[in-house]
Subunit: 556 residues, 2 copies
Amino acid sequence: MPYRAPVDEIRFVLDNVVGFDRVAATETFTEATAETVDAILTEAGKMTNEVLAPLNRQGDLHPARLENGVVRTSPGFKEGFEAIAEGGWLGMSADPEHGGMGLPITLTMAVNEMIGSACLAIQLNPLMTQGQIEALEAHASDEIRDLYIPKLISGEWTGTMNLTEPQAGSDVGALRTKAEPNGDGTYAVTGQKIYISWGDHDMAENICHLVLARLPDAGPGTKGISLFMVPKKLPDENGNAGVANDLKVVSLEHKLGLHGSPTAVMQYDGAKGWLVGEPHRGMAAMFTMMNNARLGVGVQGLSIAEAAMQHAIGYATDRRQGRTEAENGSILEHADVRRMVLDMKARTFAVRALCLDCAVALDMAKATGDASWAARGAFLTPIAKAFGTDVGIAVASEGIQVHGGMGFVEETGAAQYLRDVRVTAIYEGTNGIQAMDLVGRKLMDGGAAAFAILDEVDQADHEGLRAAGAELRTLTEWMLERPMQDRFAGSVAYLAAFARILGAHYHLRAAEADASRAPLARFAAGRLLPEALAEMAKARTGADELYALSSEEIAA
Amino acid sequence: MPYRAPVDEIRFVLDNVVGFDRVAATETFTEATAETVDAILTEAGKMTNEVLAPLNRQGDLHPARLENGVVRTSPGFKEGFEAIAEGGWLGMSADPEHGGMGLPITLTMAVNEMIGSACLAIQLNPLMTQGQIEALEAHASDEIRDLYIPKLISGEWTGTMNLTEPQAGSDVGALRTKAEPNGDGTYAVTGQKIYISWGDHDMAENICHLVLARLPDAGPGTKGISLFMVPKKLPDENGNAGVANDLKVVSLEHKLGLHGSPTAVMQYDGAKGWLVGEPHRGMAAMFTMMNNARLGVGVQGLSIAEAAMQHAIGYATDRRQGRTEAENGSILEHADVRRMVLDMKARTFAVRALCLDCAVALDMAKATGDASWAARGAFLTPIAKAFGTDVGIAVASEGIQVHGGMGFVEETGAAQYLRDVRVTAIYEGTNGIQAMDLVGRKLMDGGAAAFAILDEVDQADHEGLRAAGAELRTLTEWMLERPMQDRFAGSVAYLAAFARILGAHYHLRAAEADASRAPLARFAAGRLLPEALAEMAKARTGADELYALSSEEIAA
């Protein structure tokens, strides 16, 4: 069953659950009229259904490969990427000054969802490129912005993020890549970076690497890190891709999934780079890129949840097996298949609403400059990333189960969703890192952002939800009083509980707007709320319990 | 990090958690002395560590393949299987009359666990062969038993189960394969069977297919099904593998995992077969084979949980990253990595205890003839199968997460565990089917078996566990009063709750026997019990809620 972009469903969530009309009512986003939104979703949906979805299995079967130092992408990917670029989807939210459309990030996320459902491997490239555009808009000099951003928007060039090194993963501060001044305002960048998504490919004429490295006078840890633009080909005097820079792809990873997306080990040998932002302030600049990429990765989880759900429902509707009460006799009539499918539907809805709610907050922050919107967006981002990807994994696995034995056979396609989505819980900060961010940095406001959200939950016309929300408020207060190690010990469970309570909240909002959604909302609340209570119990574990056994005892 | 068989841990569970001494005290199993158990576990562990574990990645990288109608297995698999056969591990629990050792099924499961951890793909062959031996012991004529069982025990021949057809999966009653009398007491079997694990290979000289088919006078549904022995090569007058039978491998599946285990589409074209058991009673005979195979598949989940856990702990111990309080500074010191590793440890322990508890009940039933032991074993079997495999999947996925980015890279080995174990929730009856069995057939005793187990839980020295047990008793009573559709609607959650309460129960027993286990037991109870409460809330969903949306509305 081919993927069909859920244009109406996205529209419903925008209009009835996350209050997108508030974004459209701002001066910044006056162009995001109802007609424009319709046109965008319809047009993007057409492309994903017709052009991109057929590439998904191609990428899986014919992975990107390294040949004589150059990466060759999967069959059709070049044309697929061109379609994305020509549709203007790369620069939807970029500044019109450089050729962008200046549309809300909410719409970019909606379109990204559809592209990711159709072909997650290819979608990772736009996601990186969009993040780079944002980082450059926020931190780069006018010269770099004027040179790079138009080409990133047009898709002539694409972007990458270079953080990780073999000894520096979640602990970025341990990185060793060096940047030494060339004396002409440029720098010589030397070091090895790993896990570079779309680090090389043949779909664009240049690849722009944003690389974290240390200046000679840098201190240790994250405070001694600077950010550099290191293009694969050095721009010539006309700003076109010129001679090769001193960098190369060492190898590509052989991965569980996302075979169509080349993941490179990059070697920089005194490659020429330009400083982006202030010296030693690279982490701040990179965080701009990462924060929206984090929401983007949450949306990737949503993408796979939606695609896997459609795939499973298609199979369950067609497959006839056993005696059922209903006349059509498909396996969808069986209680447990129904339960699985409803579960997939309920969780997918919750994640979509969460991601779009987060995006609306980011747009409102940009449009109004109101710090409370920014705080809301910042608070929801790690939840959207972690819960979105956890749900993507869970729904993909449930999709395999709906297919029975067929689910384990690769030709069916259900297994690829699980293989592809598994990494989303790891990259852009593991989900454990997201949870630490939530109970650490995102509670540094004394819980203001959290409590503001819980105030909304408290208005819900549902006793169970209000009770769970009250419990979460108490837990948040408990977190605020505990030392950081205790918060960390319960962080994943705290995030999981928060996400589920929000999920139930969104479902109830949907049911209020459209009574035909009440059955799914009831089903969802009946699952998400008991799970939230269980997670809240776990969240109070405390560090002592984790460290009651020593590392040696654990490993014995 | 190479796999190390957890011999001491298995021994601890046998001695202190599941009361294996009761089995050893019966007349039937007088040979299962402490010394014998030690010798068996130690010897099997040596083989799994040294001979089988190195094959695991070979099987993944070099899948079994079909060449000119014959299946060629992965490098080293033939030698690996010979080691299993020569060790006597195929016929450990088989009747000594045919060359078996007559040892408790509990010990077979303990050894199977280690073999499966080392190389799950190869272990599936012994599991099928052991099931076939049991089915033949219980149902076949003396002639068939005398001919086949010794060769299955020696590993000269191996066994398969042939149930599924394209239109008949979970609904076995829909199968169409025919068996027509040849007039000489044999039958001509014609039809196609799919998902036949180890349906052909080059590790043994003959392959014995147990095939479900319909006699000409058979009624519809499962009551018209008979069981036939259809060997690949017809036994000659000396009982050796002779001329080829009229059957062939059509193709092998390209699967998510278990690449080393060939999964065949089998075609029978009037192949000669012998009736096993009574005409039209094939399902009963097949259930003998399936029931213990179901426990065996639960053990497969345990195998992967243990192997993935060891792998993750090895990585977390070696990997240094970030600042930690402790001196050694491995990532195992980080709160969230610890949480994941403890979670893996806690769940793996619970599943091992559950599987061995179930096996002890089966052994006691055999040794004592006591119907209450049989009922206990029958009740625990679907729980062990479903929870064991669910935990296998969850722990394998958590193992990937512990590895961070490395977890997504195939060379690391963490991803293979997830790919391999995923099918265990599907084959031998999907976990949904297990749950239906639990709330349907296994509650047909009015809840006697369930209540007997809950009586034990009620003796626990742990208030939270007793409270959860009481709640489960109430839920069981509720189930008994509800129509079957309501039971089915809540069946998966009911099973999940039962398993978690038992898991906490086993942990507390372990802590009573050995105080050094108290920290893990506390951690486990702090997770399993809240989860059980959540599952119990879901179990009361009722069918109305599942069918509030029509199939058309769901698929819209």
